[in-house]
Symmetry: C2
Subunit: 555 residues, 2 copies
C-alpha cells in the first residue's frame, strides 16, 4: 500500500462544483507543506450548471458558463484525464492516457470522489442511441447546434409532414432541468423566428413528458402549477403521468404506446452512478433497502454525515455521487442532500474541513445544511422561487433568479460579460450560428517515416492498426535484449491483442520504410468485431494463431 | 435544359464574402419580381476571415468572427448543403442530402460560383493526415483547443524530451495567414502562462517554415523584414527557403531531411480548387500556360474581366476560386486580383451588377479594383500595413489594423462585442477553456421499432448497415406494386450496394420486430473495405451474389 512521509497527498476525482471547491478549501485551509492536491477532471473548466439551459437559447454566450479550473484553483496539480478505476486497497487511482500511451497512476493518502452521475437509459430501448443527454456544457452546445440545424432544414423543406416532424421537440423529465430546457428550446425558436421566414411558431410542437402528476416536484405544488400554466400559455404541451418507453432515429415512443414523430428528443432523467463509482459499489457490496424490503445496489455512494465512506478513513465522497444524510428532524424520515450546486459547494467546505481535521487528529463536523431555496427560470421573464419556505413566482422570481446566479458566477469579468449579454438581449437579436467542429474520426489513416514506431512495448492498447502500404517489423525487449519477432506486410493487421485483452502492448512496431496505416479506435473496433462476423472471426483467428505460436507474437 | 418564365433564378454556390455579398447586391439592385436568389453554403454564417487568427489567442470570442448569413441576407433562400456537382449543360446543381436522404437539385438561369479553395497537400506525404489546416472558423477553434490541450498535458508531464516535443509548434507558410497564426499561437501561450506554472516560455519552440527568402511576400520587403525582426525578438524561429516534405503523428519533416519533433503542425499553404470547381475545369479542359511552355490544368476558374465564364453566358465566378484579370498597365505583365476579402467583396458588387445588366440586355462593366492596401497584425501591439503604397509598421499599424477591421465587421452589436473584447484584453486574463464536443461517430448503433423503415427505395445511399438483432424485410416498389424480396436476420449486412455503386437505394428495408442495427458512414466504410481484405471480399461477395440473383436484391 502507498505510504509517504512529508505532505499528505489528496487526490480529488471530478472537476464539478464538489471537486473543485473541495480542492480550493483544502488549499486555503491547509498549513504550508501539509498537503498536496491532485485534481482529475475531464474538462479544464467548471461549468456553471444553473446557467446551462440559457446556452440553448443564446441568452448567455457559449463560454460564459465555463470557468477555467486553473483560474479558481492555484496550487493544485490538474490532470485532464478520465478516471478508469479506483483501487481502495492499494490507495491508487488509474486514469486514462493522454498524448502519450501510458496510463496515469496516482497514489493517495486521502481520496475524494466527486464524479457526479451519468445518464441512465436502462430499460428504455433506443434512448442511449437516439436521445440527447443534458448534463454538461458540451450537451448544451450540441443541443443548440442541433436545433439551429433543424430550423435551417425546416425553413427550406416543402413537405408538410416532414416539417412537422422536424419542428417537434420532446423533452423527458419535468424537474428543474427538463422545464428549463423546454422553455429555452422554445425561447431559441421564438427569438430566431424572424431569421426563418418560412417557419411559423404555430407549426412547432413543444412536448414535455413527465412521469409524476405535476412538474417541478422540487418546489411547492402551487409553484409547479404556476409553471405549468406559464408553459401551456406558450403552447408547450405537458404530458403528465407519462414515461418514455423507447426511441428511434425518427420518433419518441411513450409507455402507453403513443408515438411522437420527432428528430429532437432530450432526456433530463434519470441518472445512475458514474461507472467508476458503480464498480466501487459492486466491489464493496453496498446495498440499499427498498420500500418492498428487497436489497438493491446503491445508486449513490453511501455516506456518513462526515462525508467519509463507511469502513474507510481515507475515502471521502461529495456532490451528486454521494448520498449525504441530513440531521434527523423529529418525526420526519431521514432526508438526504439533494443533488444541487448549492449543496455540492457546501459539502465541499465540510469535506475539506473534515479531511484536515482527520489529518491533525481532530474531530470533524457532520454536514448540516438544509438549503436556502430553489429557483427556476421559465424564460420570457417568468420564474419560480422558493426561498426559506416563501414562494415567489412570475417576474420577481425571474429577476431574483438572474441576480442570485449572477452573484454566484465566479469571476468579475464573467459576471460582467453575462450581465451584459442579458442586458443586450433586450436590444439586439442573438446570433444564430451553428458551430460544427470536425473531429478526428474513429477510423483514420496515419503516415509514418522509416525508423519511427507506431507503438512501443508497454504502451496502452487504445487502437488497432492495419498496414495499408509499407513494411514494419515487430520487436520485443526482453531481459535487456531486443529480438525481432516478425515482419509485417501490407494488409496485415496488428495491435489487436492488446485491445482484445485490455493489456499493454507487448511488442514494438517499427517502420522499415515510409508506411501508411489504418488506425481504428478501440470502441469502434469493439463494435465492429462484435457485429461483423467475418471480420471478427478473421481477427480472432489471427489473434489465436499468434497466441499459439511459440514466440507469442501478440503484437 | 431548365427554362422558366417569371423571375430569373440565380443560384449562388458558397457562403463566404464573395457569395454572400453577390447575393446581397443582387437582392438590393434587382427590381421587384426580377430574380430569386438561392444560396448554398456549408455553414449558416459568414466567417470574418481577417480576425480568424485572433480566435486562436482568444483576443476575440469564438463566435465574434461569425455573422449569421440570414442576418445580412434577407430575401434569399439559404440551403445548408455541400455542393456535389454542377451540370452546366442542363443548368443544374446537385447538393448533398440533409435530414432526409434525398439529394437537393437546384435549377438556375444564372449560376455564381464562389466556392473558394481548399488545402492542397499533394506531394507532401502525411500532411493530409497530420497537418492542421487553417481556413475557416472550425479550424481556428480546433487549433485553439488543441494548443490548450497541449499546455494541459505539458504542465503535468515529467519527461523533458516529451515536454519539448509537446511545446514545439510548427507553422508552414510565411504569408499573412502563416505569420498571424504563429504570432497568435505564441500569444495564446504567453497570455496563459500564469495558469500553467510548470511551463516555461523558454522551453517552447515556435517555428515558421517559409519557402521564399523573406516572409510576407504580399507587402514591401522592408515590412517583411520588420515583421521578421519582431517575430525573432519573441524567439519565434523563421526557417526561410525551406519547405515541408512530410509529416507523421509526431514530427514535421523538412525538404532537406531535418526532422522537427512536434504535435502541432499547421499548414497555411498552398491551396487547390474546390473539388466541384476542379471537376468543372477538367470537364471543360481549361488549361494554363506555364512559364516552361507546358500546359497545366487551371488552379482557378479562368475568368473574363466581366466575371462571366468564357463560353457561358449564365455561369459567373467570384472570389478565391476565380482568376480575375485586372486592367493592364503599360509595360507590366497581366495582374490578377489577389485572394483577399477586400477583392472578393468588390468582385461581388461587380458580378451582381453584370448579371442584372445581362438580364436586362445592357452592357456590363469590367472589374477594376487594384486594392487599397494590406494589413497584418503581429500580435503584442505590433503590425505592418501598406496603404496606397505607403508603408507603416509597429504600433500605429497595429492600431490601424484593429480600426479597419472593426469598421469592416458586419453588425453594430458584433463591432461592440469585439471592441469590448479588445478593451478588456488589457484588464482581464482570457479564459483558457478547452471545448470538446462529442460528435456522433461514423460507426454507431441505431434502434428501430416494428414497422419502421431503415431506409426507403430512392433514398441516397450514405450508410451501410449490419443487422445486430431483429428481423427486417426487403421490399421493392415496381409498377405500382410492392413485392417482398427477402427477409434478413441478425448478422446480415444491407445497404452496401447503393454505397458501392453510388446509386440510390433500390429497395426499402422495413423492420418486422424491434431491431438493432449497426450503421457505418459511407467514407468510413470505404476506408474499411479498402483496407480490410477479409471484410472487403466478404462484402463484395455478398454484393455480387445479390447482383447475380434473378430478383436483384441489391439492398
Amino acid at each position: 500500500m502507498y505510504k509517504q512521509s512529508g505532505p499528505k497527498r489528496v487526490v480529488i476525482l471530478g472537476g464539478g462544483f464538489a471537486g473543485v471547491y473541495t480542492a480550493r478549501q483544502l488549499l486555503k485551509k491547509a498549513r504550508p507543506g501539509e498537503i498536496t492536491v491532485d485534481l482529475v477532471s475531464m474538462d479544464n473548466f467548471m461549468a456553471f450548471q444553473p446557467l446551462l439551459p440559457e446556452v440553448i437559447s443564446g441568452s448567455v454566450g457559449i463560454a460564459d458558463t465555463a470557468t477555467p479550473i486553473r483560474q479558481i484553483l492555484t496550487g493544485a496539480t490538474i490532470h485532464l484525464r478520465e478516471v478508469e478505476s479506483v483501487d481502495v486497497e492499494n490507495r491508487r487511482v488509474i486514469c486514462s492516457a493522454g498524448f502519450q500511451p501510458h496510463l496515469l497512476e496516482l497514489n493517495y493518502d486521502h481520496l475524494v470522489i466527486a464524479l457526479g452521475n451519468v445518464c441512465n437509459f436502462q430499460g428504455m430501448t433506443g434512448l442511449a442511441e437516439h436521445a440527447m443527454p443534458f448534463k454538461n456544457l458540451a450537451d448544451a452546445i450540441t443541443l443548440r447546434n442541433h436545433i439551429i440545424r433543424i430550423m435551417e432544414e425546416a425553413d427550406c423543406e416543402k413537405s408538410e409532414a416532414f416539417r412537422r416532424e422536424l419542428l417537434t421537440f420532446v423533452v423527458g423529465g419535468g424537474g428543474f432541468s427538463g422545464v428549463e430546457v423546454i422553455a429555452q428550446i422554445h425561447g431559441l425558436i421564438w427569438r430566431a423566428r424572424r431569421n426563418y421566414p418560412n417557419i411559423n411558431m404555430d407549426e412547432c410542437r413543444f412536448i414535455l413528458v413527465h412521469s409524476q402528476d405535476r412538474i417541478l416536484p422540487e418546489v411547492a405544488a402551487k409553484l409547479g402549477h404556476y409553471a405549468e400554466k406559464q408553459l401551456r400559455k406558450r403552447n408547450i404541451e405537458i404530458l403528465l403521468g407519462c414515461r418514455l418507453r423507447s426511441a428511434t432515429p425518427r420518433s419518441a415512443i411513450l409507455a402507453d404506446g403513443r408515438e411522437i414523430r420527432t428528430r429532437t428528443l432530450v432526456s433530463t432523467v434519470p441518472s445512475q452512478p458514474h461507472p467508476v463509482v458503480e464498480a466501487l459499489i459492486r466491489q464493496q457490496g453496498w446495498q440499499q433497502s427498498t420500500p418492498d424490503g428487497r436489497k438493491r445496489p446503491m445508486v449513490r455512494l453511501p455516506d456518513t454525515p462526515m462525508l467519509q465512506m463507511e469502513g474507510f478513513s481515507d475515502v471521502w465522497a461529495v456532490g451528486d455521487c454521494a448520498q449525504v444524510p441530513l440531521p434527523m428532524k423529529a418525526g420526519q424520515a431521514q432526508a438526504y442532500a439533494p443533488p444541487t450546486a448549492q449543496h455540492a459547494s457546501r459539502e465541499a467546505v465540510s469535506c475539506a474541513r473534515n479531511i484536515l481535521a482527520d489529518m491533525r487528529g481532530e474531530k470533524g463536523k457532520a454536514f448540516n445544511f438544509f438549503g436556502i431555496g430553489a429557483l427556476a427560470s421559465l424564460g420570457r421573464r417568468r420564474g419560480v422561487a422558493q426561498i426559506l419556505g416563501v414562494c415567489i413566482s412570475g417576474f420577481p422570481a425571474w429577476v431574483l433568479w438572474r441576480l442570485v446566479h449572477l452573484g454566484k458566477l465566479p469571476g468579475i469579468y464573467r459576471k460582467f460579460r453575462v450581465g451584459l449579454s442579458w442586458l443586450f438581449d433586450f436590444i439586439f437579436p442573438s446570433d444564430i450560428i451553428q458551430l460544427s467542429l470536425k473531429q478526428s474520426g474513429g477510423i483514420r489513416q496515419e503516415h509514418y517515416e522509416t525508423g519511427e514506431t507506431v507503438f512501443e512495448q508497454g504502451d496502452v492498447g487504445d487502437r488497432v492498426y492495419v498496414l495499408i502500404k509499407g513494411e514494419v517489423e515487430v520487436m520485443r525487449h526482453e531481459n535487456d535484449q531486443v529480438c525481432r519477432l516478425a515482419q509485417l506486410h501490407s494488409g496485415d493487421i496488428f495491435g489487436e491483442m492488446a485491445v482484445l485483452h485490455r493489456s499493454p502492448r507487448n511488442a514494438t512496431i517499427r517502420c522499415l520504410e515510409p508506411s501508411e496505416v489504418l488506425s481504428i479506435e478501440r470502441h469502434q473496433f469493439d463494435t465492429l468485431i462484435h457485429c461483423l462476423n467475418d471480420l471478427g472471426s478473421s481477427v480472432r483467428a489471427t489473434a489465436e494463431s499468434r497466441s499459439n505460436c511459440n514466440d507469442k507474437t501478440d503484437v
